[in-house]
């Protein structure tokens, strides 16, 4: 009754009921919004069930003449893909450099502590100065401003996560490469990076999702033409007459990357979210 398989304490009936309830609670809201997205507005208001499914909400959101949502998706994809590529390059170089070369403590520890503090501070605190600076530079309302800021907010996670992977490379391998005449950059490119590939994939997945999901920066640094998906969804919710059905459809579309990565990124999510503190 208790240990059985030997791994841990067997769940009793209350435990099983609790797990079932938890699963239902997690999945329920997704099912609800998915069904709402296939209902006509009037069917949502009437609380109809069963209902006649319709694709009109998706058609309105994606192809409607008054909807910018297709453009929002394009903006989100460009920003998320570019910022992910950049943060991987910058982050991998920095993480490797901090691990491999003997930097004075104030550089290495200072850098890591600074990224940690920045990671913990609400981004809202820096939005004011960013807004002022990007206006002065003429970068307000550009994708470039969004890409650069998204690289910055994802850099702490990337550096901390990749550090844990570089740390596991046996120093003997790099020493041997050095003896064989392999320069430091080549050693990084041909030995360290391939070994750290799982870490790069993990950090890349998370950076992409975080950039795709990011809301406050996009809200304040973009306007109509450069707005991303979350900003567009917030606009739906803020209209005087909320288009609930379209809002539901847009929300469902916005979850697609998460659903794909849920299956791909399982192992990495926790270590990424805790900056490598939990493996």
């Amino acid at each position: 009754m208790m240990t059985g398989s030997g791994t841990t304490i067997r769940a009793g009936v209350p435990g099983r009921v609790y797990v079932a309830l938890a699963l239902f609670a997690i999945v329920g809201p997704f099912v609800w919004i998915l069904t709402a997205s296939f209902k006509h507005q009037i069917a949502i208001y009437a609380g109809q069930f069963p209902f006649t499914p319709t694709l009109s909400n998706y058609a309105d959101v994606l192809f409607g003449r008054r909807s910018d949502f297709a453009g929002n998706i394009a903006n989100s994809l460009v920003v998320a893909a570019s910022s992910t590529a950049l943060v991987l390059i910058v982050g991998a170089l920095a993480a490797y450099s901090l691990h491999r070369f003997r930097w004075p403590t104030w550089v290495s520890a200072g850098f890591l502590a600074w990224t940690l503090v920045f990671h913990m501070v609400p981004v809202l605190t820096l939005l004011g100065p960013w807004y002022v600076a990007f206006r002065e530079l003429g970068l307000y309302d550009t994708r470039a401003a969004l890409i650069v800021t998204h690289v910055t907010i994802n850099l702490p996670m990337t550096v901390w996560l990749l550090r844990t992977f570089f740390r596991e490379i046996p120093p003997e391998i790099l020493e041997a490469a050095h003896v064989d005449g392999c320069g430091p950059f080549d050693a990084f490119r041909r030995i360290a990076l391939p070994i750290a590939l799982p870490g790069l994939i993990a950090a890349g997945i998370l950076a992409f999702v975080f950039s795709w999901n990011e809301f406050p920066i996009a809200l304040t640094l973009t306007s109509r033409t450069t707005a991303t998906v979350p900003v567009a969804i917030a606009r739906f919710a803020q209209q005087y007459e909320i288009q609930h059905a379209q809002m539901a459809a847009a929300s469902v579309i916005s979850t697609i990357p998460a659903v794909i990565l849920m299956f791909l990124g399982q192992r990495f999510i926790v270590s990424g979210l805790t900056l490598g503190a939990v493996k």
């Binding site: 208790m2 699963l23 609800w32 949502i44 950059f185 939990v278």
Partner: protein
């Protein structure tokens, strides 16, 4: 070196130049590898931080599209004392963080232990639990805004079907904060679960086996073996949750935007409004600095506490 060998048709001079560049890249690699990250952080965190200091003692007005800065060191501090929203925002934030994190920890730890005790379907639970964490928080906000809707949301439909009165989940001052906390709990219990689940699965089976042989009850095993061994993971989950809870913005912005009145006003929402709705950059900067100082203080204290707990965990 390899590049030169791989390009035999090159003239010796050009080959020499390539090698020289390669050596330059190699020899200075140590420096330029850290440079991009350092520059980025200097430009986008250090410089803005210094700018916050400057802004916090200034009043910034917009005239003809240009900013006009005036040095008014005391004005923003005065604004601090006359800001009626600040107090409720701080109180709500503390209530929000404490209540939601405590509930999430209890539910998440319990879920981890329960799931670890299942003989099947563990992987499925783990996969599903990842979903709320990865979905855009804005989508979560809009999802729950629909479910909380007074007229056609699922909760009121259920209440009416049961013959009860519908509840104004987001529109009444007495319920709104609890409704917002419920969304946060839904969002983040899976995160606590995932961290703790890894820890529960890592408990050596021999320990439990031995306790079982010695006749320990299930409650005793939980109390004296499982929970003590989970302590480091609980501390990690708690710290990350506390800080992430403090960063909350997106969902609440969508659900209530701080209302009704100030009943769900949080520090972050207030910051946003001061900066971007009231256009008070100077006062907003002062508030930002206060928030940053509070976070740094929390980090310093909590890292001490976490270290102490960890040390206790090892000795005890």
């Amino acid at each position: 070196m390899r590049d030169a060998a791989a390009l035999p048709e090159m003239t010796p001079q050009r080959r020499g130049a390539r090698v020289a560049i390669g050596q330059l890249i190699d020899r200075s690699f140590r420096y330029w590898s850290l440079l991009p990250a350092a520059l980025l952080f200097a430009a986008l965190t250090l410089y803005p931080l210094l700018n916050l200091l400057r802004m916090s003692v200034s009043t910034i007005a917009f005239a003809n599209g240009a900013e006009v800065w005036t040095f008014t060191p005391l004005r923003n501090f005065e604004a601090l004392t006359t800001d009626d929203v600040l107090r409720p925002a701080v109180v709500n934030t503390i209530v929000f963080v404490v209540v939601s994190v405590v509930i999430e920890m209890v539910l998440g730890v319990a879920l981890a232990i329960a799931v670890a005790g299942l003989s099947r379907a563990k992987r499925w639970v783990r996969t599903v639990a990842i979903l709320p964490i990865l979905v855009p928080p804005v989508a979560i906000g809009s999802m729950w805004k629909l479910m909380y809707n007074y007229d056609f949301g699922i909760f009121n439909q259920a209440l009416v079907a049961l013959g009860a009165m519908p509840v104004n989940w987001l529109g009444s001052t007495s319920v709104a904060l609890a409704s917002v906390i419920a969304v946060d709990v839904w969002h983040w219990v899976p995160f606590v679960f995932l961290i703790l689940f890894a820890a529960v699965e890592g408990i050596p089976p021999d320990l439990l086996e031995a306790a079982h042989v010695d006749g320990a009850t299930r409650a005793q095993m939980l109390r004296f073996i499982v929970l003590p061994l989970l302590r480091p993971a609980i501390v990690v989950a708690f710290l990350f949750r506390a800080i992430l809870a403090f960063k909350v913005f997106d969902e609440v912005f969508l659900l209530t935007a701080g209302g009704p009145g100030t009943s769900t006003e949080l520090v972050n929402l207030h910051l946003y409004k001061v900066f971007f709705e009231q256009n008070r950059l100077g006062y907003g900067a002062l508030l930002s600095l206060a928030v940053i100082a509070a976070i740094v203080a929390f980090l310093l204290v909590s890292s001490r506490v976490a270290l102490a707990v960890r040390r206790n965990g090892h000795s005890g």
